[in-house]
Structure formats: structure tokens, C-alpha cells
Symmetry: C2
Subunit: 241 residues, 2 copies
DNA sequence: CGCGCTACTGAACAGCCATTCAATAAAACT
DNA sequence: AGTTTTATTGAATGGCTGTTCAGTAGCGCG
């Protein structure tokens, strides 16, 4: 325990292909540094856990000096809070984009919401581990709790909307609020399992489980494997075939 | 932050009504002290979180002196590990007892397994919060991971057994392994919500959500509200009504 | 009553870690 | 080029915390 977790050269997957003027540049823009430090924090949270993550770990991980975090984030507490904020933003941007891009029928919107949670972008072992590390502290940190709760509320609101819509379309008998709660709980539980199981379970396994459950809950909208049924546009009790 | 969380007088809900010889007794049996310290640890984990829990908090909470934890548990690490073990044991004893006491038909066994998770005994806000505090560290602590994984495996094995049985009895089309994973994930997600939401969600709400989901997944075994149907003994594809 | 025995205490200690800050160096600007 | 501004460094600091251990006190036993 104590190896620096080299992520000094972050794979900035963005389209930042501009020939950087000098590779030995020490000064970076404020935003870049902050993001670099946040990523190093996530890394350390995932590998070492919350309790064992020190500022030295973070600065070493970013290949920078000791005082750097307090310079950019004022305090460790604040670094952790902004890390949570960062992950929360990333999460929301992801599902909103996927939701917007999905066809407008209920089955596809639901699919988009569910699969977004298990997207490759946000559902890496490190991200999930860091997320739980911070979330576990939420009970004793009102600021964390507020962030997490807001993230939850927005997503679940949208999910409820479509559970209700599905019910209207196909005449299911369930209570939409309860089904939403159940689905959302399942999603978080799948995350937890992904974190705990190391390499035994993969993201794609979780995806399969989630989609099959959609098929079970909304049998008129999905087939048994969880594939959206879009043939019938589905009106009130519309006749089929 | 720093008030001692008085639980010196633990409510030992057991049938230990034996008139304790002298109320000012300082020396206690080894087991009693250990349990008292573990309960103080759970309390502190729930209120302060993992990172902020110090040995001073634990000994203050138990109204004992500073060195007491190292005397009984050797190290803080070991205290935390034994706390996890304690909660794990309590959890398993609970569901095994409920399972054994349930009627032998599939629906009731399933109900027993599901409701056990949300039993008043083990599903208190403090217990759940402490559980997640420790579980979040599992990724970076092999010893924790092992304990949590074992706990999971036993419970899920039993759950799978009955999902399979239900499928055989009623001819459902789902994959039993996947359904088990989904149900179990939902259970853990409900725990998480219980922890995060403070007083907004109650144990009984979670119970309702879980049972309604059982009704959705096993429609031949439960009614829509999740009540076990026991009238029909249920054979293979038996004709109905 | 004395003698150990064991649970327990709390002061002392050593190590770790977040934070500070004076010094430095790179960019930006004039 | 000179000056200001800004980012960065890394050694110093002080507080906190886990652990130790020499001492204390309740308890049973002979």
C-alpha cells in the first residue's frame, strides 16, 4: 500500500488533439488541473477506500506536489465534495443524453434510462467503487446526502413518468411509484454487486439481468429477453397483429 | 461533533433479566464487553461514518476508558472486522430462523426470505448505515470482501433454489439465476435507500415495494399486492379454475 | 486476610496527515 | 526587458489518533 497509482498522463479521451505547445509545460489551466486531481481522487477512493485516501495519495497519483490540492480545492473535504459533484454531473449528463437520443416510444425510453445506468462510460469498477465510498459517508455528511438525493430525485422522476405511461398504455395493475422504487433499487443493487464481486460479474451481465427484469415487469412492452417491442404502436387497449 | 453517544446502558433485549449482583460492577464477562463495544462501534459508524470513527468515540460511547478496545480486540482493524462479522452473523441467524419457521410452500418460503431482509431486528437505520460504511471499504479490504461475499452467497443460494422451484411449479419463462440476482439487487438497493433517505422512507414502505415486486415476478404464486396464494397446490402446467 | 489474577485505566508516545506559507518559476502583460 | 500575476512546490507545523504499558482496582480463592 503506497504505490503512486500513476495517472499523471490522463487519457483525455476528448477531441483535444491540438498539438500541445510544449510537452514539459508545468502550468495547466485551472479546469484541467482540477479534473486531473478529481480523477486521481476517484482512483484512490476506488483502490484504497475512503478512510485510507490521503492528500498525499492524490497528489502523488497526479504526479504533483503536496500542497497542490489545498491550492486548487482549499481543503480535503471540499475536494471530496467536488469529486462527488463531478461524478453526479457525469451521471446525469449521460442518462439525459441517452434518454434524448432514444426513440419516443415508452419501451425505448425505458430502455434508455435503464441502460444508461450501466453504460460503459460511467459504470467502470473504479467509478462505482468511488461512488459507494462517498455515498456510505452520506448519512453523516449532509452535503453529500443532498447531492445524492438530488441526483436520485431527477432520475427517478423520469423513470416514474414512464412507468406510469407504460401502465396507461397496457393496463398493468402495478403501482407506478412502487415499481419505480423497485427498479431503481435493483439498479443500485447491481452497482453494488459490480463493485463487490471484482471480476466475477461484468457490466454486461448486470445489463442482461436488468433488461430481463424489464421484460418481466412490462410484458406488453418487452419480450422475455427484454427486447423492446415496437411493432404495435400501442394505444389504449388496441388490438394486436 | 464529539458528543459521546451514550449507550453505556445497552438495552439488552434478551432474556437476561437476572438481577445483576451489583450495579456498580466494573468487571464484566469477556463476551459482554465485546458485544458492548461492537454495539458502540455500530453506533459510531452510523452517526459519524467510517472515516470519522475513532477508538476514542467507541470507548466514550461505551463509557469506558481509552485503552479498552485494544485490550479486547487488539487493534482497531480487528474491531471493525469483528463488527462486520457480528452483523453478518446476526443477519444470517435472522433469515435462517424465519425461513425455517415458514410454511413449506414456495410462496411462503420466498416471502420469508424477502421479509427477513427487512425485518425490524436487523433493518434499523443504524445497522444499515454501519453495514454500508463497512461494505464500501470492502473493495480495498480483502477480509471484508470475503465476509460480505460469503454472507451473500448463502442467502442467494437459497433464494435461487426457490426461484427455480417456482419456475418448475408454474412454468415461468425467466432464468432463475437472473431473477435471483435482480431480486437480491433490489433488496440491497432498498437498504441503501433506507439509509440515505433518513425518515422519508420507512422499513414498511420498502417491505411493500418488495412484496409487490414478488407479485409481479411470480404472478401464479402471489396476488398483485404480494400476498402468497396457497389455495392451489400447483402442479406442473395444471389447468386453472 | 492476603494473594494472586484479570479486567481495566489513562497518561505517554510515536507516527501520520491536513494545512500553511515563504520561496520559486512559468506565463502574461506592458 | 521588466513587472505583475498566477501556478506550483515542499518543508515546517501542529493536531489528532492508534497503540503501548506501567499501574490500579475489583474479584475469587485459599
Amino acid at each position: 500500500m503506497g504505490n503512486p497509482l500513476d495517472i499523471g498522463k490522463i487519457q483525455n479521451g476528448n477531441e483535444e488533439t491540438e498539438a500541445s505547445p510544449s510537452p514539459s509545460r508545468r502550468r495547466e489551466s485551472r479546469e484541467k488541473r482540477r479534473e486531473q486531481l478529481i480523477k486521481a481522487t476517484i482512483e484512490s477512493l476506488a483502490v484504497r477506500g475512503y478512510a485510507a485516501t490521503t492528500l498525499a495519495d492524490v497528489s502523488d497519483g497526479a504526479k504533483l506536489s503536496r500542497g497542490i490540492v489545498n491550492f486548487h480545492f482549499d481543503s480535503k473535504d471540499n475536494l471530496l465534495l467536488e469529486t462527488l459533484q463531478f461524478m453526479s454531473d457525469e451521471y446525469q449528463e449521460n442518462w439525459k443524453a441517452r434518454y434524448a437520443a432514444a426513440p419516443s416510444d415508452t419501451a425505448h425510453k425505458l430502455t434508455a434510462l435503464i441502460t444508461a445506468d450501466l453504460d460503459r462510460k460511467i459504470c467502470t469498477p473504479h467509478t462505482v467503487a468511488a461512488w459507494f465510498a462517498l455515498m456510505a459517508e452520506a448519512k453523516s455528511r449532509p452535503a453529500y446526502q443532498k447531492l445524492v438525493w438530488e441526483r436520485d430525485t431527477k432520475y427517478r422522476g423520469r423513470l416514474t413518468e414512464y412507468c406510469r405511461k407504460a401502465k396507461d398504455e397496457a393496463g398493468y395493475t402495478f403501482d407506478p411509484e412502487n415499481v419505480t422504487a423497485a427498479i431503481y433499487a435493483m439498479q443500485e443493487g447491481l452497482w453494488l454487486r459490480l463493485m463487490l464481486s471484482g471480476r466475477k460479474y461484468k457490466r454486461t451481465d448486470a445489463l442482461k439481468i436488468a433488461m430481463e427484469m424489464l421484460g418481466t415487469i412490462f410484458p406488453k412492452h418487452f419480450d422475455a429477453d427484454g427486447r423492446p417491442l415496437t411493432k404495435t404502436p400501442m394505444r389504449k387497449p388496441g388490438r394486436k397483429t
